[in-house]
Structures are given as C-alpha cells and as structure tokens.
Amino acid sequence: MKIVVLVKAVPNPTGTPEIGEGFRLKREGVELALDPGDEYGVELGLQLAEQTGGEVTYVSMGPAGATAAVRRALSMGGDRAVLVTDPALAGADALATARVLAAAVGRQPFDLVIAGAESTDGYTGTLPMAVAELLGVASASFARRVELRDGAIRLERQTADGYDVVECPLPAVLTVTAGVASPRYPTLKGIMQAKQKPFEQLTVADLGLSAEEVAATQTVERVDAAPERGRGELVQDAGDGAARIAEFLAEAKVI
C-alpha cells in the first residue's frame, strides 16, 4: 500500500507565539517542530505500511526551516519526504495550501493520504477535505480508530455525541485524532537512518502551479488583545471551601 502522510512544521508549542510584520506569525528565529498532532498520523501510516508491506512518503509545505521537523517523522520510520518551500508561499492561506499539497501528493500514485484532524497553529480542520476534493478521492475526518478490511478502510469517526462507523473505499484522504495510535519514539538507529532517506525540496513552479493559484485570498486587517476576564475572589480552603461554593451557586440561582 502506498501511503502519504501530511506533516506540518509548527512553531515550537512551548514558546509564546509572536506576531510580526504584516500580522504574520513570526517564524524567523522561531524553532519549528513537527506538529504533535501529526505524530498520530505518522504512527498510523507506519503501522499500515508494516501490515501491508507498503511504503510511507511524507509531504509538507513550509519554510526551509521545516526540514528538521519533517526529518523527525522520517526518524520514526517511512521511506522519503517532500517539502514544498517557496517564498511565494509565505502568506499562504487554506486554499493555496490545499492546492500545493494536492499537487505534491498527486505526483505519484497513492492509496491513502493521512493528515491530522487539526493543526496546532492553524486548526482549520478543513484543509485535508479540500485536498481530497482536488485529488478527486473519498475522505473521512476525525477518525479515532482505523483498520484495513477487504481493501477498504473501516473507521470510527468522532461525532458530537459519540462516534459513527464509516466504510471508505480507497484511494482516500483520512484525518485522525489523538488515540488512533500511540506514536513511537525515534530510536538512535532511526535518527541515523533518517539522514540517508531521500528528501526532496520543491518550489511552486516545480508543481506546475502559477502565482495566482497560490495567492492569498485573505488579509489580516487588525489584531487586538481580547477583552480580559477579571480575576475574582480566591479563597484558601480551610474546611469552608465547599460551603463558599454552594453559597455562590445559590446566588447564581442554579441550586
């Protein structure tokens, strides 16, 4: 089975993000890491490839500094990686990103594309479906359990009140949530091997896309601090904490 996993490099989640020029997220001098949410997709991809004797290709779009993050996926396993990086993509929005990723994925035959349900920094949760539409294949999002059965995918898809069981033919795009698989840690051997694996860098022109096709359709007009909610009363529990809360609930007329 030929599997593609979409992986994104995001500003290191431990730091405080900053907004730079043109209201863009500051990425210079900011360390980029593999989106923790994408590690579940990587793990699922590796497991399915192991089961079927298949292969895993990582596809990512991001600044040149994203290489280390993509290589982290390679050190978990998999065969090769493609990073689309181009100054023209600096302000790319969801549509441009979907076009780029679909073009990069579509260069090779594939059976399954796996993505995270939502990225840590963008969290639109719509991008992989746009990729599926551009590729002309089936899709299902928010999978929390995935298995291969008779050449199709059977998955549990999260819903507001529980889950649905969905049967999805291949080829397909799937998005996965935490819990679909426990991501493995890269081993020292894996880290060494990752350095030898094919790692291709492509530009927008390499993908046959025009500047208009990746031009942003959204402009940030302003960024303001959100109104703060004031800090209220803080009491140390000295056996009376519960009584104080009960009083509060009674004042709010909910008991």
Partner: protein, 320 residues
C-alpha cells in the same frame, strides 16, 4: 443586494441543530436575502423553525443520501445551488459534518474559507481568536463569492424573528461516483442528563482528579445540582477516563453555561477557549498559581477530593 446562506444541519426528527439557528440569527444582520440549505431526512420539517429564525427560503431535500454518505453529496448539491443562485456568503457551523462539506466546497469553488470564526462584522469580513483566545484577529475575505466562513458554535445567540420560509425542493442528483465514504453505524456515548452545550451548569474535571474512579464524584455533583452536565479537559480524555464527546476547549466543545465549575483543571489556553465565555466561573485547584484562577470569579485553593464530596453534601442540603 447581499445574499447570505446558512448550511443548516437538521436532525432526522426535523429539529434544526442549535448552530443553524445561531447562524441564521447572525445572517439576518448581514444580508437582505437570507436562505438556509438543509439536506437530508428532517429537512422539510425543519423549515418552519429555520424560517422563524430568518430564512426567507429553505432549499431542502429529504433524500437519505446526505445522511448516509459523508460530505461529497452535500458539497456537490451545494455547488449546483451556488452556481444557480450566486449567494455572497455561506456560513457553516464548526461541526464534524459541516467542516467536511466546507473544505470540499472550497476546493470546488476556489473560494476563500475562514475557519474558527467567532464573529462577522460584514459579509466579507470575519473575526477569529488566536493564541487561545488572547488575541482577536479581523480578516478581510477576498476572491470570488461566495465567501465561506466556518463559525464556532455559540458565537451568536439564536433569536427568532417570527418569519416564515418558502421551501424550495432540491433535486438530489448525486452521481454514483460521489457515494463513497458511507456511515454504516451510529453510536451514542453521551451520559444521561442535559447536553453539555445546553446545560445551565457544567462541572468539568481535569487531571487533578487523580484517576478515572474519582471522576464519578463529578457525576454525583452534577446530579445533585440538577440541569448540569459533566465535561472534561483534554488531558483526561487522552488518558481514556471519559469519551471525547466530553472534551471542552479548542479541539473540543464550546460551552457558555450560567456557571462553569472547573475541578483539577490547570486552565491551559486551549481549554479556556471552550469555556471562558461562561457567565460565571468557579475553580477548585490545589495550586494557588494555576492559570484557571486568572479567570475564575470564585477560586478555591484546595484538594478536589475533599472539596467536591463536601460540596455534594452542601448542595444536597441546600436543595433539601
């Protein structure tokens, strides 16, 4: 003239999802012509409620294909309706189903799509919150119409306007090739009692409860209070103590109850996004520096395992 459409999710029983009514209420202030698109069983029965909240027209189809197959039939039919009627703006709720449809439609139309919106100052402008709701960003939407905007639930309060809607039947001409990802079973994992999104009080627990068994204390507290639902932080959902359907926050549900009681929750920004709009917030945490106290109206520094059982007693006593 500005035409605003709402992609309205409806239940098979003909009840529109609350998000559909929220979005229609907002749509009234954005456009002269407001319509809802409701696809699947229950669509026609939902039309009066949609009309009452501002839809002058409801494009409806009762065809089960829309409930049976994910996203593709709905995106296909929507694309056809859009080509015919050319709305300027199309609103979706940030739900599992609607997000799939919106993503596919964006790719088909080459339209702009704004996700996670919390407000729309104008038909071509949307507001979102970033960095865990600490910053508010206003974005101008360019490119061809319709603009697609995916709005977080509870961003607007649903208010009826007393209108009625004309129902326009929509043909479900869905090609075989678009009937692919198929729902074969549905499962509910919801606890008894009110829905998390609708309860007056939400009692939410985090890792500070120590283990899964202690989570039951929160159920007892919710029962004692009445009209209360139990929610959770992502840490305990990931640990498998409770189903994902209980998660509150950026990647979970948004709640706006009268009172939110956070027990053993640190108050990470991703959690706050889902609850900071609660009318009142109570927090119990043993760490006086826990970030949750920065937004709590009443904070109690103490051990959840002593405070909660005592609180259950207090509430029971109060209610007699």
């Amino acid at each position: 003239m500005t035409t605003v459409w709402v992609y309205a999710e409806v239940g098979a029983d003909g009840r529109p999802e609350p998000t559909a009514l929220e979005l229609l209420t907002k749509a009234r202030s954005l456009g002269d012509a407001v319509a809802a698109v409701a696809l699947g069983p229950g669509a026609r029965a939902a039309a009066p409620a949609l009309g009452e909240h501002g839809a002058q027209t409801v494009y409806a189809s009762e065809d089960p294909v829309f409930a049976e197959f994910l996203a593709e039939p709905a995106a296909h039919v929507l694309a056809g309706l859009i080509a015919e009627h050319r709305p300027n703006l199309l609103l979706f709720a940030a739900t599992y189903d609607s997000r799939e449809v919106a993503g596919r439609l964006q790719a088909r139309l080459g339209a702009t799509l704004m996700a996670n919106a919390t407000d729309l100052p104008a038909p071509d402008r949307a507001v979102t919150q970033i960095f865990g709701g600490t910053r508010v960003v206003e974005v101008a939407l360019g490119g061809p119409d319709p603009k697609l905007v995916v709005v977080r639930p509870k961003s607007f309060a649903a208010e009826p306007s007393g209108g009625t809607a004309d129902v326009v039947e929509v043909a479900a001409d869905v090609p075989e090739g678009l009937r692919r990802a198929r729902r074969v079973e549905r499962h509910e994992e919801r606890a008894a009692g009110p829905k998390l999104e609708e309860a007056r009080v939400v009692v939410a627990g985090g890792r500070g409860l120590g283990d899964e068994a202690n989570f039951d204390l929160l159920r007892q507290l919710a029962d004692a209070i009445g009209n209360a639902a139990v929610g959770a932080s992502r840490a305990v959902v990931d640990a498998g103590w409770v189903p994902y359907a209980l998660q509150i926050g950026q990647t979970g549900k948004t709640v706006k109850p009268d009172v939110y009681i956070a027990v053993g929750i640190s108050g990470a920004i991703q959690h706050r996004v889902g609850m900071k709009e609660a009318k009142r917030i109570v927090a119990v945490n043993k760490d006086a520096d826990a970030p949750i106290f920065e937004i709590a109206d009443l904070g109690v520094v103490g051990d959840a395992l002593t405070v909660v059982p005592a609180l259950i007693e207090e509430v029971r006593r109060h209610r007699g």
